[in-house]
C-alpha cells in the first residue's frame, strides 16, 4: 500500500509504544469518568489494559486536589498560555520534533471552544515556571490563568516530554505528566497531553485521538467516460494523516465505523464479475486490506449503519425496486425487513442506545426523518420543518440529532434537541452542507460542504463556531467520526 501504509504503521507503532511506556497515564485515563453513553464507554475501553494497580504518577506529580476546584470552572472559557516547549537548541530537532509538538498542542487545545489561548507576543520572559507572585501576575497580565509548561528531551530514538499545568495564581502545578515514545510519535504525545489537560478540567478527554472516515474522488482519472471513482479514506480528527483504505476503483459511499474503530462498512459498486452492476455492502479493516462483502439478496444496498453491539447492520435495501430498511447480520444471516411502506425509506442510522433507528422517508410527501424501534415498530416523525431532511446522526449521548436540512435553496446542518424538539441550524453562509457526524465527546460536528464547485470536509463546534476545513484534495464526502475517545 505504498507510503501511506508505512506512515500509518509507524504511527500505530508509536501509539502502542506510548501505551506500553506510559502505562500510568493510560490507565488513569481508563479510570476516568465515562465519556458518553454506556455502550460507548465499553467500546472506548476495548483493547486497553485492565485497570491496573494504583497509577504511580510520573515525575513529581502535582497535588491532585486542586483539580476539584478547577472543574467548577466548567461553564466559561479557560484562558490558557501554551509557550513553546523547552528543547535542545538543535535546528533539526526543533524543526522535526519541537515545532511539531508545539503546533499540535496549540492546535488541539485551540480546537475546542473551552479554552482561550493567550497571545504569545505578550508572554513574560524568564518566568517559567512561575515561581513568584510577580511572575504569576505577569502571566495573568498576558491573559493566562493556566500555563502549560513543557520540556522535550531527546533520548536516542525516543523523546521524553515533561509537562506541567500551572495555575498562575497559586503558582502550583495542577497536573504533572511525563510521556515517552519514538520521536516520530511526537504528535501523538501532544494529543495525549492535550487529552490529559482537557480531562483535568472537564472529566473526559477531547477528540484528539479520534479519526474521521470519509470518501474521496481524488483518485479518479480524467473521466473519459464520465466515470467517477470514490475510495474510502481515513484521517485524524484534525485532517492530518489522510490514508486511503480501499483500492476498488469503484464508487464507494456512505461509510460507517464500528464502535471499537476496527472495521469500516460501506456501500460499493465494486464487482468481480465484469458487466454486472450491483451495489453491495462491504467491510474493511482500519488498516485497509481486502474488503469483505456482506452476502445480500436485496438490491440498492445503501447507507449501512452498524448496530452499537457491532453484530448487525441496518441499511436501505430494495425488493422489486421499493426501498425499505433492512437489518442483517454481518455474515448475511437473519435478514429482516424493518419498514413496510409503498414510499421511499432510506438512510437508517442506529441510535447509540441500540433501541432506536432513525431513517428518512417520503411517506408523508417530502423526505423527512422518522424514528422507529429497533424491530421496526412505533414509527414517529422527528422533523417537522423544511421540505427535505435526511442523513440523521445521533449525538454520542443520543440526546440530539444532527441532519442535512433544507427549506429553500441549499442544504444546511440542523440539530434537533430530542427532548424539547427545538431545532437550530449550525452551518451558515453559502454552499451546500450535508452529511453531519458528531465527535465522540459531542463537542464538534463534521460535515461535507460544497462551495464553488468543490466539496470538502469541515468541522465546527456545535454552535457553529470554530469552522475548520480538513481536506483539500479532490472532492471529499460522507465524513463519519470514530466513536471512541481513545
Amino acid at each position: 500500500m505504498k507510503v501511506p501504509k508505512t506512515a500509518r504503521f509507524m504511527r500505530l507503532w508509536g501509539i502502542s509504544a506510548l501505551a506500553l511506556l506510559f502505562w500510568p497515564v493510560v490507565s488513569a485515563a481508563a479510570g476516568a469518568p465515562a465519556a458518553v453513553g454506556a455502550p460507548a464507554a465499553v467500546g472506548a475501553q476495548q483493547g486497553r489494559p485492565e485497570t491496573p494497580p494504583a497509577p504511580t504518577p510520573a515525575a513529581s506529580a502535582g497535588p491532585a486536589e486542586v483539580s476539584a476546584v478547577i472543574t467548577q470552572e466548567g461553564g466559561r472559557r479557560i484562558p490558557l498560555a501554551i509557550p513553546p516547549a523547552i528543547a535542545p537548541i538543535d535546528p533539526v530537532f526543533q524543526a522535526q520534533t519541537a515545532d511539531r509538538f508545539d503546533k499540535t498542542l496549540a492546535s488541539d487545545l485551540g480546537f475546542l471552544p473551552n479554552f482561550i489561548l493567550a497571545d504569545s507576543s505578550l508572554f513574560p520572559k524568564g518566568a517559567r515556571p512561575p515561581a513568584t507572585k510577580e511572575q504569576g501576575d505577569a502571566w495573568s497580565a498576558a491573559g493566562a490563568q493556566f500555563l502549560v509548561d513543557t520540556q522535550i528531551q531527546p533520548n536516542g530514538e525516543q523523546v521524553t516530554v515533561t509537562a506541567q499545568l500551572y495555575d498562575v495564581r497559586t503558582l502550583k502545578p495542577v497536573l504533572s505528566k511525563r510521556y515517552q515514545a519514538g520521536s516520530k510519535s511526537i504528535r501523538v504525545i501532544a494529543h495525549y497531553l492535550a487529552n490529559d489537560i482537557v480531562r483535568q478540567f472537564f472529566g473526559q478527554p477531547g477528540p484528539f485521538m479520534t479519526s474521521i472516515v470519509f470518501t474521496s474522488d481524488r483518485d479518479s482519472r480524467t473521466p473519459k467516460d464520465g466515470r467517477v471513482v470514490k475510495e474510502v479514506y481515513m484521517m485524524d480528527f484534525d485532517g492530518e494523516n489522510q490514508t486511503r483504505l480501499t483500492y476498488q476503483s469503484s464508487l464507494s459511499m456512505a461509510p460507517d465505523i464500528t464502535r471499537d474503530g476496527s472495521k469500516i462498512f460501506f456501500q460499493s459498486f465494486y464487482s468481480r464479475a465484469p458487466g454486472s452492476i450491483a451495489p453491495g455492502i462491504f467491510s474493511i479493516g482500519r488498516e485497509g486490506g481486502q474488503p469483505k462483502q456482506v452476502p445480500l439478496s436485496t438490491g440498492l444496498n445503501a447507507s449501512p449503519s452498524i448496530s452499537p453491539d457491532g453484530k448487525s447492520v441496518v441499511f436501505a435495501g430494495s425488493i422489486k425496486g421499493n426501498p425499505e430498511i433492512f437489518s442483517v447480520n454481518l455474515d448475511g444471516g437473519n435478514l429482516k425487513r424493518l419498514t413496510e411502506s409503498a414510499s421511499i425509506d432510506s438512510t437508517p442510522r442506529w441510535a447509540p442506545n441500540g433501541r432506536e433507528i432513525a431513517f428518512t422517508s417520503n411517506r408523508q410527501g417530502s423526505p423527512q426523518i422518522y424514528l422507529m424501534d429497533s424491530e421496526g415498530a412505533n414509527v414517529r416523525r422527528v422533523t417537522m420543518a423544511g421540505n427535505w431532511n435526511d442523513e440523521a446522526a445521533f449525538s454520542p449521548k443520543g440526546d440530539k440529532l444532527a441532519f442535512s436540512c433544507r427549506n429553500e435553496g441549499d442544504f444546511q446542518i440542523c440539530v434537533t434537541d430530542m427532548a424539547s424538539g427545538r431545532t437550530f441550524q449550525i452551518s451558515n453562509g453559502g454552499g451546500s452542507h450535508e452529511n453531519p457526524t458528531w465527535s465522540p465527546d459531542g463537542s464538534r460536528i463534521a460535515w461535507q460542504m460544497r462551495k464553488n464547485g468543490s466539496t470538502q470536509i469541515v468541522s465546527a463546534n456545535i454552535d457553529g463556531s470554530g469552522l475548520k476545513t480538513l481536506t483539500s484534495l479532490g472532492n471529499n464526502y460522507s465524513p463519519v467520526w470514530s466513536k471512541a475517545l481513545d
Binding site: G226, R227, V228, K230, L251, M253, A254, Q267, G275, I277, A278, P279, G299, L300, A302, S303, A316, S318, K320, G321, N322, P323, I344, D345, S346, T347, T360, N362, S366, P367, W388, D390, E391, S404, F411, E434, N435, Y477, S478
Partner: protein
C-alpha cells in the same frame, strides 16, 4: 498445427454464430445450406477438420438488423431512449409514455436483448435519499415496460443516485437532464 486447429475452430464458431443469428432474426429466411453441409463433415476420421464451407453465403442472405453491431455500438445508436422525471418524483411523466412504448416495441422486435435501467437524480437532493429515489425511478421504468408486455427477466435495474450526472451545471437545464432513467443494452 495448433494454428490450423484454432482457425478451424474459429470458423466453426463463426458458422454457429451466423446460424444462431439467422434463426433469431425477425424474418428467419430458411437457410438450409449450412445444415446440409454439416453431415458431410461426419465421414472424415477427425471430427473437426474438413475445409470450412464458405461462411459468407448465409450471412448475405441474413437481413441486416439493429443488433448486428457490438453492444457499444448498439448503445451509441440509442435505440432504447432515456426517460426523464420531475424533481423528487418517480412517476412516469405523461410525455414519457410514448418514449417507453417506442422502447418496448423495439425490445419486442429483438427478444434476445437484455437491458439495464439506471436510475439517476439531479444534484439538489441528499446523496443517501437520492440513492433510494434512483432505485424507485429505475423500478418504475421497469414496471412500465413489464406492463407493456416485456418479460421481467430481460430488465435489470440499478440506482446511481446523484453520483453520475449526465450534464454538469447547477441550473434547471442540467438538472432536468440528470433526473433520468438511462437505458443500457447489456446483452443481445
Amino acid at each position: 498445427m495448433k494454428h490450423l486447429h484454432r482457425s478451424l475452430g474459429l470458423s466453426l464458431t463463426a458458422l454457429f454464430v451466423v446460424v444462431g443469428l439467422g434463426c433469431c432474426a425477425k424474418k428467419p429466411t430458411p437457410t438450409p445450406a449450412p445444415e446440409v453441409k454439416a453431415p458431410k463433415v461426419e465421414p472424415t476420421p477427425v471430427p473437426e477438420p474438413v475445409k470450412t464451407p464458405p461462411p459468407f453465403k448465409p450471412a448475405e442472405t441474413k437481413p441486416v438488423t439493429d443488433i448486428d453491431a457490438s453492444l457499444d455500438e448498439i448503445n451509441r445508436k440509442g435505440y432504447v431512449k432515456d426517460v426523464f422525471f420531475d424533481f423528487d418524483d418517480d412517476a412516469i411523466r405523461a410525455d414519457m409514455r410514448d418514449v417507453l412504448e417506442g422502447n418496448a416495441a423495439w425490445l419486442k422486435k429483438y427478444p434476445t436483448v437484455k437491458i439495464r435501467v439506471e436510475g439517476h437524480c439531479d444534484e439538489r437532493g441528499t446523496a443517501q435519499y437520492n440513492m433510494a429515489l434512483g432505485e424507485r425511478r429505475a423500478a418504475q421504468v421497469k414496471n412500465y415496460l413489464v406492463r407493456l408486455g416485456l418479460e421481467e427477466g430481460r430488465i435489470e435495474t440499478v440506482s446511481f443516485g446523484k453520483e453520475k450526472p449526465f450534464a454538469t451545471g447547477s441550473n434547471e437545464e442540467a438538472w432536468s437532464q440528470n433526473r433520468r432513467g438511462h437505458f443500457v443494452v447489456i446483452a443481445k
